[in-house]
Amino acid sequence: MEDTALIASIAQGDRNALATLYTRHAPWLQVRLRRRCADDDVVAEALQETFVAAWRGAGRWRGDGDVAAWLWGIAVRRLVDLVAKRPRHRSLAGVPDPVVASAEEQVLLGVEYADVATALNRLSPDLIAVVQATVLDGLTTREAARLLRIPQGTVKTRMARARMLLREALS
């Protein structure tokens, strides 16, 4: 069954359709969330809240757009809220610095870095975290600030700095 048909069934109260949607989407959502938060409890809670929200919000699904993107949009915002709620919570797992990535891995993957990739990987972790939250995860400045636990102004200045560095590296 297509994802959109599943959503329509869920809107009509079909638990089996929700179970199918979960089997199909929860694994990759978990992997992606786990790259943004090291705490398994928080990831599990974010997943749970995502599918409860999908159950409740299926009726507002307009039938356009992609179900995967919709679910990720919910999931990353649930994660933002949960991370913001836990004051002394371990910070984001982040992605290991390329320098830390093992030589074995580099050989295994055997990928040539394009200019853009090199430039992006040269950014400091602080800057890359902002780029990831705003550009890749599609969060607003406010949401990115809550996820990264920094002021909104800092998000803006770091984004501006990242842009400038990228422009310099690519020119």
Binding site: A11, Q12, R35, V43, L47, G59, L109, Y113, N121, Q132
Partner: protein, 269 residues
């Protein structure tokens, strides 16, 4: 996405957090649009964590309360999903039920004052099914409207389901009419014009939108009552046999057209 898919080694490295940011980002961009690679990354997920989150999800869903009316409909034989469609109470509908109860209560209280309570009741009561159906069904106030637009749920069946909650209040108005108006026959006078207005509302909703349909029909009805009062000296003129026959024709005609249309759609599919 056809042809290119993320390399299995990349997916494995991505899942255990080993891929650098740039390649991780390109994997994520691809995953959003590719069901094949989403399925390929699934074995790398933490099965215990997934099971825990699903148990939690089911627990929360079980705790989400079902309304008494929804439970009653299930007991009466409707499937749970149909019962959920029929209820799905909105704040606007609750306000409507309160409004109907107030109309009825006012009619009973004013009964002993003079004959005007009865005529006032007759004027307003036919509008109750119209606004009730519109609130139960129209877009803007009805969250399910978008689902219906997206899902192939039989429209007529949905309309009938959504009108179920209107029945108890309509029955209440009938009972109150019986108390207020002389003779039991008088109590039902408003029923046929009321149903005709409601069905016309459903038809016009598709053309001009729910707000314009309700406002237009309500305005027309009030004008009709006013002119009946001027020409015949009583609002009862708006409930003459001719009006009752015309109302029956509208109700029966609309239902027949809807049934034929539904069958033709099913035939085409």
């Amino acid at each position: 996405m056809t042809g290119w898919h993320t390399d299995e080694d990349w997916l494995a490295a991505y899942a255990r957090g080993g891929l650098d940011r740039v390649r991780a980002a390109s994997v994520e961009q691809h995953l959003i649009g590719c069901a094949t690679c989403r399925a390929a990354v699934a074995p790398h997920a933490d099965a215990a964590l997934l099971a825990r989150a699903w148990t939690g999800t089911v627990d929360v869903l079980d705790r989400l309360r079902t309304s008494p009316f929804e439970r009653l409909l299930t007991v009466l034989g409707l499937s749970p999903s149909a019962a959920r469609l029929a209820t799905g109470a909105s704040a606007a509908r609750r306000a409507w039920v309160v409004g109907c109860v107030l109309v009825a209560a006012f009619a009973i209280v004013a009964r002993d004052m003079d004959g005007r309570a009865a005529t006032w009741f007759l004027t307003v009561a036919p509008l109750a099914p119209l606004t009730g159906v519109a609130l139960a069904y129209g877009p803007g106030v009805f969250a399910m409207h978008e689902v219906v637009a997206a899902a192939p749920y039989p429209r007529l069946r949905l309309v009938l389901l959504r009108c179920l909650p209107v029945l108890p209040t309509t029955a209440l108005l009938l009972v109150v009419g019986g108390l207020v108006l002389p003779g039991t026959a008088g109590a039902g006078l408003w029923l046929l014009p009321g149903l005709a207005l409601a069905t016309l509302g459903m038809v016009l909703e598709r053309v001009v939108g729910v707000r314009a349909a309700v406002a237009g029909l309500a305005g027309l009805w009030m004008c009709g009552v006013a002119s009946a009062r001027i020409t015949t000296g009583s609002v009862l003129g708006a409930f003459s046999p001719a009006v009752q026959v015309a109302s029956s024709v509208i109700v029966v005609g609309t239902v027949v057209v809807a049934l034929v249309g539904a069958r033709r759609i099913r035939g085409v599919r």
